[in-house]
């Protein structure tokens, strides 16, 4: 029989090992950062279609991650998806006329938001809204449009016109609220 002190020491080591394992699981494996909320500011952007975008998706400029998506809501009046972006505080100088687009990493990868900076001298701050947005590209819709175009082209030449019209109609809806 071991002495009580040896037993206590080894149980203490066991506990420490388990706590260390939990810390590894938290920070190395699951990349948990929400224990210490990262300093930063929130910016919103409204999209017509967010595709497969999820909360915690990356926000990037030129491919470099500068923040993450912190919330996704549906605006009940305009039926647009309002995405809240949490941008790290070391990226303060993003021009406020920049545009945001939802892109896909690779052919089948996750969606992320890419911000393309413009030239304005005023910058985005907490609570400001990115007005120029591009919705996610949905592969099925693109294929559908493509097939529609091919079908119309073979029958008559006004197909592209009608297609353009529908696009323009959509634009006018989105601009005129």
């Amino acid at each position: 029989m071991l002495s009580q002190r040896t037993i206590e020491t080894s149980v203490g080591l066991f506990l420490l090992a388990a706590i260390g394992a939990l810390l590894v699981l938290a920070f190395k494996v699951s990349g948990l950062t929400s224990f210490f909320k990262t300093e930063g500011y929130n910016v919103t952007a409204s999209f017509d279609d967010i595709g497969q975008l999820k909360v915690r998706a990356a926000v990037k400029i030129s491919g470099v991650t500068i923040g993450e998506v912190s919330a996704i809501q549906l605006d009940p009046t305009t039926y647009k998806a309002v995405v809240t972006l949490h941008i790290h505080s070391n990226m303060k100088d993003i021009p406020d006329d920049s545009s945001a687009a939802i892109l896909t990493a690779g052919l089948l990868g996750d969606n992320y938001i890419e911000i393309s900076p413009m030239y304005s001298k005023t910058f985005l701050k907490n609570g400001s809204d990115i007005e120029d947005t591009n919705a996610a590209m949905i592969l099925e819709k693109l294929i559908g449009q493509f097939l529609f175009k091919i079908g119309n082209n073979s029958s008559d030449s006004s197909a592209t016109n009608s297609n353009d019209k529908s696009v323009e109609k959509k634009k006018s809806i989105s601009k005129g609220e």
Binding site: L2, Q4, I7, E8, S10, V11, L13, F14, L15, A17, A18, A21, L22, V24, L25, A26, K28, V29, S30, G31, L32, R56, A58, D110
Partner: protein, 260 residues
């Protein structure tokens, strides 16, 4: 005919009586927790016997399980050109399923059977009744520390299992098969969620630890006080624990899967 029906009735009464006895035992352990100063060293001793001494088998088997999952997963993923997703594959399968379940199965075989055999032998050699003669409650002195020890050890062992399994996968995927270390870790971090994946796995393991400790203590305490009785009680501990683990795992996964 009537005899058969009577046999069935007796059998079901036996089963219900067993559940009742197990419930009573649990009630006595949980709601009459012994004085902290006296009970704590005993619980520590059991954490040592059930947890620390199980560490070696847990670490070795988890290392090999992580390595084999990485090896299998890599070759399947490489067919689809998705070998960069090896990290998420290993981390998710280990944190959600393999970690809690395999740890629990090993724990039932390593620690649960030992607890049953120990308590059973104490009963067969009438140590439990002599304790009662000395006005020491055997449930406080013997049963309760073993139950709490198993309950506390299981989640700790699971955390260690998860980390060593992922490290084993890292060894195979990065060091041997030549995957990029940054890709391995960053893909893992972006798809594993701490609360949904890691914590749910640990919740599972606490449930398993509780069930294993309860079954092994019950089987030992109510074992037939003969050598054959102890042998069959030990067997039953392992069999019932394994079945309970796999059944409960399905139920718990079905309850948790909403978040994924």
């Amino acid at each position: 005919m009537i005899d058969r029906i009577a046999l069935l009735g007796r059998f079901s009464l036996e089963v219900i009586r067993d559940y009742g006895k197990a419930g009573q035992l649990l009630w006595q352990v949980i709601f009459r927790f012994p004085q902290f100063r006296k009970g704590f060293p005993l619980v520590l001793q059991q954490i040592y016997a059930e947890g620390v001494l199980s560490l070696i088998i847990i670490i070795v088997s988890s290392l090999f399980i992580g390595m084999v999952v990485a090896l299998q997963g890599y070759h399947t993923l490489a067919k689809f050109g998705a070998s960069a997703e090896l990290g998420p594959l290993v981390a998710l399968s280990v944190a959600r399923e393999l970690g809690p379940v395999v740890t629990a199965l090993l724990f039932a075989g390593r620690a649960g059977s030992a607890v049953t055999a120990e308590i059973g032998l104490m009963k067969a050699t009438e140590q439990l009744s002599s304790m009662e003669m000395m006005a020491v409650n055997p449930i406080h002195r013997v049963i309760s520390p073993r139950l709490w020890g198993g309950f506390i050890s299981m989640p700790l062992l699971t955390m260690i299992f998860n980390v060593t399994a992922i490290y084993g996968a890292y060894l195979v995927g990065v060091k041997w098969l030549g995957l990029d270390a940054g890709v391995f870790w960053s893909n893992m971090q972006s798809s594993v969620d701490f609360h949904l994946d890691v914590m749910n796995g640990i919740i599972k393991s606490t449930v398993f630890g509780f069930v294993i400790a309860w079954i092994s203590v019950y089987q030992g305490y109510f074992a037939e006080p003969t050598s054959a009785g102890i042998a069959s009680a030990t067997t039953r501990t392992v069999v019932y624990s394994s079945l309970a683990i796999l059944g409960l795992d399905f139920v718990l996964t079905a309850m948790m899967i909403g978040g994924w």
